[in-house]
């Protein structure tokens, strides 16, 4: 039996995979258990069996923010990797216990890891680099379940952006033959996947700019809160024109895909500078948060207007989907779109990324590539990740 036979065998029966995602917003770890299989027509199928969100340990969150903002030692990086791995192990074990899941019924744990740096290539002639901290062998040894992770580096090594990786999921599961579909994910950053009803056209997917990151940073600064729950602070504020204008000229928003971004661009420094040059430091925090919220919605909509079909079915996932003020502005910006909820598709907005990474892990064990070259720009598609058993 060679590897190919193993992969065929993997795909031939339903497999239970735990997916885990800890996004750049550092809010927590999303975890879900899904069963993947292939039906008689060769279509991939999934059922979400269980899910949870465990908040990030506040100490670790502060430590990671320190790591990302300050100069550090390699000891701190090594220690951070251990702490990230440990919190993932704790989350899996807690999930298994709370949901009464038999570990031996799980075929795989598929984990994103904590992105602490992401520099995609800036031109065709260079390659980027990306760093997801988490030790896969350590996690596997602590939980006793086969584990896969480090999904982005192979695509980057092949000249790709290393992101987004969700589109392979969207293309498989969100497709409609009646209408173009756009999946929007609003996490720390925001990204969209455009799935044309004409399958010959291929998928387009890219980061649109900030997701919740700027809003969260402002909530922290002005209200000492982690985020604007339901968008209630934004709702009380009004838009500050000077700040709005300085936001809208950020090059990334209107630059042509493929493109991906992260905390390297959208971070505390950028926000501080923007508030400074807009002379709005002394304005009410609600107004700042409102302006950032509406800008975030606008930047997503602007990308859709520029690079996609604004008359699409739209499905929004991620924490931002629960920010009513943001969602209202998004709907106003895209009046001809049909907004759907994820529940129609069989999952909820919180667990989508964890589910996608579960799916990516399932694909890799089956020898199926996980990157779409039309989306990431990599020279070839490739089986992603690295496995410990």
């Amino acid at each position: 039996m060679n590897l190919h036979e193993f992969q065929q065998s993997w795909l031939s029966s339903p497999r239970r995979v735990i997916g885990m995602m800890s996004g750049t917003s550092l809010d927590g770890i999303d975890i879900c258990l899904a069963e993947f299989s292939i039906d008689a027509n060769g279509n991939h199928c999934f059922v979400v069996l269980d899910k949870a969100i465990y908040p990030m340990d506040q100490d670790l969150k502060e430590y990671l923010i320190h790591l990302m903002q300050d100069t550090i030692s390699l000891e701190e990086v090594s220690h951070a990797q251990q702490r990230i791995t440990n919190i993932h192990a704790d989350s899996v074990l807690r999930f298994l216990q709370e949901k009464n899941i038999d570990p031996t019924s799980c075929d795989l744990v598929s984990v994103h890891g904590q992105t602490v740096w992401h520099s995609p290539p800036k031109s065709k002639s260079e390659t980027g680099h990306t760093l997801q901290l988490l030790s896969i062998p350590a996690l596997a040894s602590m939980i006793g379940i086969r584990t896969i992770g480090d999904f982005r580096t192979a695509d980057i090594a092949l000249g790709g952006q290393g992101a987004p990786l969700v589109p392979v999921f969207d293309g498989e599961f969100l497709y409609s033959y009646t209408m173009d579909t756009i999946a929007i994910n609003i996490g720390g950053m925001a990204n969209i996947t455009c799935i044309p009803k004409n399958r010959d056209l291929g998928l387009l997917a890219f980061d649109t700019g900030p997701g919740n990151i700027l809003i969260d940073l402002a909530m922290r600064r002005f209200f000492g809160k982690q985020y604007d729950e339901g968008g209630v602070f934004a709702k009380e504020g009004k838009i500050l024109e000077r700040l709005w204008k300085n936001l809208c000229v950020i090059d990334f928003i209107t630059s042509t895909p493929p493109k991906s971004t992260g905390r390297e661009l959208f971070n505390k420094e950028l926000l501080d500078t923007l508030l400074e040059v807009s002379f709005v430091n002394t304005f009410p925090g609600e107004d700042i948060v409102r302006t950032l919220t509406d800008f975030t919605a606008w930047s997503i909509a602007e990308n859709i207007r520029l690079f996609a079909n604004h008359q699409s079915r739209i499905i929004v996932t991620g924490g931002g989907a629960k920010n009513t003020t943001l969602m209202n502005r998004l709907k106003k910006e895209l009046p001809e779109a049909v907004f759907l909820t994820c529940h129609d598709i069989g999952f909820d907005e919180d667990s989508k990324e964890a589910l996608c990474f579960a799916y990516l892990g399932w694909r890799s064990l089956g020898g199926l590539p996980g990157n779409l070259t039309s989306v990431t720009g990599a020279s070839t598609s490739v089986v992603l990740g690295s496995v410990s058993c």
Copy 2:
């Protein structure tokens, strides 16, 4: 076909594995191609088919030294990982070409990765952490051969020292039923494995302290050279008593195994401090190098006298084996030992660690654990590493 069947199939035929090692001395990448199989008696066998040493790119070496000594950003860590991965990919491709090896004849590339931090646990109640920079999925995608790496983190996660890992090789291949055997490896750090002729006793293995690191640092400082080739600089010098005394009191040398160390302890800062407090800064460089060379030999011998049998067969590997001044002192310190060369065993001193990691990778694909709990102190033995195909 499940994973167990795949592992059985892996072990049932001879497998060709490329092993790669880039040690803490940052001198270069050792690479070898070996074929592993199991004979009719169930004994593991190997043949080294080819080997090479490629010097580390000088720019990258300087960059890594900067990373290890200064405070840095996560961008630099991410970039360093990319550069380390790239140089490994270049080395594999160069090796295949120069040695005229068909890539499709290679079943696996097994790579150590660049250790940039190693903090083993200091007591039974805590766990350590370790960081080997190298992206396994990226390397696999660039060379098109299945790749395994990240061998140390699982052992660390299970409470072990994450080192040494060479003993599983030594125990399998260096054993003699007539005499106790000690394998000494003198790389950046030095470590020994004691293989008793009485197999019931189990192996003992640990780091003894510095290998070439202090000598190399002094060569750099006083002569602008990377290392003392053949020990000729040391040969010209004499031992400085004040420095000698300050070296011999370093706690690590005489502390009880299990123990492991690295550049966290034996580094430029330590050397600078030692030279300072010994008032030898203005003495001839040859004297400094001589003192460090003899101290290195003494520290290895002292560990053997304290914790092993000084009447053993001794096999020395690593760059230090070529330092005649160091080897002469070592032989003088251990007059009752029988010194053998590696060639008697079927490999040469340069390629042993690369060969060991090839063997560890071969074991992991076969589902065989790679850590010896008696050596690392981990709570259980475990299949090491993480695989990308």
